[in-house]
Amino acid sequence: MTSTLFIVAVVIVTALFFDFTNGFHDSANAMATSVATAAFKPRTAVLIAAVLNVVGAFLSTEVAKTISGGIVNDALVTPTMIFAGLVAAILWNLTTWLFGLPSSSSHALFGGLIGAVLIGAGASGVNFSVVVSKILLPAVMAPLVAGLAAGLATFLVYRWFHNVDQEPTVGWFRKAQTVSASIIALAHGTSDGQKTMGVITLVLITAGYQDAGTGPQTWVIATAGLAIGLGTYSGGWRIMRTMGKGLVDLRSPQGFAAETTSAAAILASAHMGFGLSTTQVCSGSVIGVGAGRRLATVRWGKARRMVYGWLLTLPAAALFGAIAAAVALTGPVGVLIVLVALLAGAGAIYAISRRTPVTHVNVNDSPDVTVSFSRSSTSSMPAASSTTAGVATSQTVTLSGTAAATTPVETAPPPTGASAVITSTGTAPGSTAPTVVTPLVIGPDIREPTEDTIPGPAYSRGGHQ
C-alpha cells in the first residue's frame, strides 16, 4: 500500500514537471511571432500566454479519458510505465529546448510511453497502426497544411495590398497580432492543460484513490493549470528565438497571417476529428509566411534541422522511455534511481543552457541558438548559476552586441555575444548536432524602440516602396 502511494506521488510530481516543460516548450507557439514583430514586449507576451493557459485549463471540461488515445493499450499500462514515459518526455523536451528546436510535447510523451510499454508489456501493448494514423500522418500533414494556408494568405496580401509593411498599416497588423496570438494561447490551455490532468486522474483511479468514471479533482485542475502556466511564463526563450527570429525574418502582416492560420488549423483539427500537433502547425505557418512573401528570407537549414528534430522525437523519447522503464520496473529503488537520473539530466541541461543564455532581454537579438559544451570557449560568458548572474550575463551580451553592430559592414555576423561564442564540437547523446554559427544578414525588420534595439546602419523597412 505504501509503495502504491509512493509511486502515485512520484507520478503526480513527474506529471506536473512534464506539464511545466510542456508550457515553456509551447509558449513559443502562441507568442514567438508576436514577440519577433514587437506586437508584444517579451515579458508581456509570456504573462498573457500564461494567464490564458491557466484560464484554458480551467475552462476545459473534456479531460482525456485515455492516456494515449489508443496508441498504447491502456489496460496494460501501470503507473510505473507512465512514470518512465513522463521522464523520457521531460528529458526530450529539455534537450530540444536546449537546441532551440520546436518539437511536439505530445509526441515526446507518446514516444516515452511507447518505449516504456514495449519494455513493460511487450510489442502487443503498442498499437502500431494507431501510431501511423495518429502521429506519423498528422506530423506530415500539419506543417504542409499550415504552411500552404499561411503562405497563400501572405502571398495574396502582399500582392493585393501595397505598403502593408509600413506605418500606419503595419500598426493595425501589430494590434491584430495580439488577438490572434491570444486565441492560440487559450486554445493551447484547453487542449494541453487537460492532458496532464487526464494522466494524474487515470493514475489516481488505477491506484484506487479515486472512483472510476469521475472527473479530475479540483486540486488536480489547479496544480496542472498552475504548472503549465508557470512553464509558459518562464518563456522557453530558446525556442521562442528559433520560431520568431530563426526560421524567417517576420514582419507584422506575416506574423498575423501565421497566427491566424495556426489558430484556424488548431480549431479546425480540434473540431473536425483530425488532431494536428500545435507545434508543427505553428512552425509550418511561420515557414509558410516566409515563403509567401517575396524577398523574405527563409532559413531552410534551420527548418531542416527542426524537421530532423521532429523525426527524432518519437524514437528518441521511446529509447529514453524504454531505458527508464527497464530500471524503474525493478522496484521502488529503480524508481528512485530514475528520479535521480531525471533531476541530474535536467540540471545538466539547464547548466549547459546557462552558458549561452537566451532570455527575454536578448531573445530578438539573433536568429541563432548556440549550445556550448566546453567550459573553455565560454571565457567571455561565465556559466551563471543564480538568476541574478544570469541577468547580468545577458546584459553583457546586449552590450557587446551593440558594439559589434556599429561596424558598418552589412554582412557582419549576428551582433550578439551569444552567437559569437564558438561552439564546441561535442554532442550530447540523442541530440542533434550543435548549431553551426554562420554569418547571416539580418534583414530589415520592425523592432520595438527599447534599449536593446541594435542601431544598425542599414536599417530600412524596404519591401514595397
Partner: protein, 76 residues
C-alpha cells in the same frame, strides 16, 4: 489501419479558406481605413471607404469571437 481522409481533407480546406479569408478581410479593411486617412478632407466617397473598411475589420473581429466560441466548451 483507419485513416480518416475525409476529416483530413476537411481540416485542410477549412484551414486554407479560413486563413485566406480572415487575413484578406482584415487587410482589405485596413487598406480602406488607411486610404481614407491619407486622403483626409477629400471627396465624400472616402467616408464610404472608411465605413466599408471598419465593416471588414469588424467582420474579422467577429470571426475571432467565433473562434472563442469554438474554444470555450461552456458555450456549446
Amino acid at each position: 489501419m483507419t485513416i480518416n481522409w475525409a476529416a483530413l481533407a476537411l481540416v485542410a480546406v477549412a484551414t486554407v479558406v479560413a486563413a485566406v479569408s480572415i487575413v484578406g478581410l482584415f487587410s482589405l479593411g485596413v487598406a480602406a481605413v488607411t486610404a481614407h486617412q491619407r486622403s483626409r478632407g477629400g471627396a465624400a466617397a472616402s467616408s464610404l471607404t472608411l465605413v466599408a473598411g471598419y465593416a471588414c475589420i469588424s467582420a474579422a473581429g467577429l470571426i475571432a469571437v467565433y473562434g472563442l466560441y469554438l474554444i470555450i466548451p461552456q458555450f456549446h
